[in-house]
Symmetry: C2
Subunit: 426 residues, 2 copies
């Protein structure tokens, strides 16, 4: 019987804790698996030997992970194990050996699967019996291949898709009501390079009744062209909703400069939405009123009220599948979700080699963007619609506040000397 | 039997349609009241004779107004009837006379109550029998007097308060999980001058366990002092949540310049959150990682999932009370909500003279701000906590989408020549 370490990497999602819950709850079913330890703040927690005993937690708190968004429970990290950080890799093996760890489950995206594979190879070299399995997670839906063969979608995406579906419906009520004064509302969506997130705005209006424009990072255009599209919309409908990717290239055509005199467009110092709105207000709108903008930022990846029930369930099942693979000794794989060929949405859970995932790159299919670049197609809607689910999560409250899981600080006793991760050394 | 016109003014709230619903549904009970007409886009709809027949709408759609946020149904406006726009005032009387209107209900804030009173006086002068009643509405909670005697709170505020309570709880999960990479999260709240909205963030953490700072427009300080407070928080907790009013004065101490070389701080071209975050990232945080920001913007006033059940009900009852006042011939008043003196939260509905409301100005009590200006007090928490309610609204979906009320375009036939509102003339 050997212990299991689970770690999370990268940005959180509203459902990431469900994969964690799926792992903790299903690990109980396997005699080969001992305790489940959560590495605090991802791989950094392994390096620092900060391992939270998840098996010893109250079962009620583990169950409450269902409705606890983001990664506050065991934390996530952006710490990268780079190939030349060999000491870090050796330390991981050392920590696993010290704590009788035989299973390592890594929840993350493409990069994380690459790291997971490297750890698996080194364990083999060092004679440590270690089964390494990945579990996918990202709101961006950019894990896997462009043809959706390795994986249909990633846990996390369905919830952010529901977020944009419902947010745009709500914003349409605002915009319709306030149009004479504020005819243009620009909303900035996450996803620097890949357009799955802003594309989901179309789910708000599959019949195309709203004055809604959607511009992905994949369909850049000059600001003047974007302003023309907005103005066309205003002339036609008297108002306009624009959902735009944070990675939309606003070029250098503008006039804003930062303190160093550099054109500030597209730099992190100004949001894309702000630049677009400033441009619209400068060039002048054809009607009274001004453009305004919303940038929800991290809110779209940690709003539990917008979690998709389908996504909540699938995230759990992916964790369960990863444990099943681990218990069966099937290391070197990532658990996957594949859609069954049918008009009714059903999925099955499968596996893909870590190497294949690490080397893959999902892009937003070019044929899902309309020719004018201002919208996405019905094919995208058919793909994304089932992922948002048909009903609402039953979020528990306590004294009016959200009742999130509160894990107890049951840290495993350290067995090794303290260690400073390589990238943290001065 | 005379008809009733209802109009809305100013920014929307998640519950404004409930006041409308309360008016439409309770007007049916009074024989003296004929049809209920909704003026499209507020007083502008009266001037343009755009009156939507609300009595003839399907009752199901009127019922669905409960879960339809913002003002998309009959619209709101920012059109102001200024004292010198005498033609506009005369036109209002003319339209009311032409459509046998005997009741005018105006949903809005202080300014709207002033307009309502002027219309009432002119009607009297012109010999038109018209009962004018106001219904309060604003997320800012700035209607009424500073001592809470005229009105305890305004419909709309409880929902935006719940929004910030739950958003900050969610953001705390994000921040706790992502802290090593993104230790500071700045969130910008609405309310340019009055701090009730950002103050509600404290409801997320009445025990003060989170590393949460709250800065209202009422407690301005230099950016350097704000950065010190954030850095103290980082040294103590390793992370920091800052909720800041959009009206917080960021001064001119920064380095950002707009295209004209003017210091851009505090101008509408940059958000306060962006300026603060740029400053924090420039002066350097004491730990790794960067500050980031969320500006939900209009989202906070049209998110139906965050509507307070208490607020939903009270907004309805305020509309009902306004109709009761109107039917009783009690013109010149605004319907109000007053809290009963008890430890258990209960309210009663009353009235205040339009003149008293128009002349009043509610401010955020100075003694509810802590001495260091970084927080609000427990007295504020005791005031605001009951307003957010204890449970969640049952928001209806249809095919996964929000099922909002869809009013039919049943416009009353025009009886007068077309009219261009004075402020719209070239």
């Amino acid at each position: 019987m050997r212990n299991l370490v689970v770690a999370q990497s990268g940005g959180p999602t509203p459902v990431i804790n469900n994969t964690l819950r799926g792992i903790v709850e299903s690990a109980r079913r396997f005699r080969a698996i001992g305790k489940v330890y959560g590495a605090r703040h991802g791989i950094e927690g392994v390096l620092k030997e900060e391992l939270l005993d998840l098996t010893a937690q109250p079962q009620e708190e583990i169950a409450l992970l269902r409705y606890t968004p983001a990664a506050g429970s065991i934390g996530t990290c952006r710490y990268k194990l780079r190939p030349n950080q060999t000491e870090d890799y050796e330390r991981v093996i050392e920590v696993f050996r010290a704590h009788q760890v035989g299973y390592f489950l890594y929840i993350g995206g493409n990069d994380s699967m690459d790291t997971a594979e490297k750890i698996a190879l080194l364990a083999q070299e060092r004679g440590l019996e270690l089964v390494v399995v990945g579990a996918p997670k990202t709101i961006d839906n950019d894990v896997g291949d462009a043809e959706f063969r390795l994986i249909d979608h990633t846990p996390g995406y369905g919830s952010v898709a529901r977020y944009w579906m419902h947010k745009v419906q709500e914003a349409n009520e605002e915009n319709a009501g306030s149009a004479p004064a504020d005819p243009v509302l620009v909303m900035q969506a996450m996803g620097r390079r890949i357009g799955f997130i802003p594309a989901a705005a179309r789910l708000a209006d599959p019949q195309r009744e709203m004055p809604l424009l959607i511009r992905l990072a994949e369909s850049p255009c000059p600001l003047a062209q974007l302003a023309d599209a907005v103005n066309d919309c205003l002339r036609r409908a008297g108002r306009c909703l624009l959902v735009i990717s944070e990675g939309f290239d606003v070029g250098e055509s503008g006039v804003l400069k930062d303190a160093f005199g550099h054109a500030a467009y597209g730099s992190a110092k100004y949001s894309v939405a702000q630049v677009v709105v400033n441009y619209l207000n400068q060039v002048g709108l054809p009607c009274k009123g001004a453009a305004r903008w919303n940038v929800p930022g991290t809110d779209q990846r940690h709003s539990i009220f917008y979690a998709s029930t389908v996504d909540l369930d699938e995230a759990y099942r992916v964790g369960e599948k990863a444990v099943e693979l681990a218990a069966a000794g099937q290391g070197g794989f990532m658990a996957t979700i594949l859609r069954n060929p049918s008009t009714i949405y059903t999925v099955h859970y499968d596996k893909a080699p870590l190497r294949a995932v690490a080397n893959s790159e999902r892009t937003f299919p070019a044929h899902w963007i309309t020719l004018d670049g201002n919208d996405v197609t019905d094919d995208f809607v058919r793909y994304a619609r089932p992922l948002v689910g048909d009903d609402l999560p039953h979020v528990p409250l306590c004294d009016g506040r959200l009742r999130f899981a509160r894990l107890q600080p049951l840290y495993v006793e350290r067995k090794l000397p303290a260690y400073v991760p390589q990238a943290d050394r001065k």
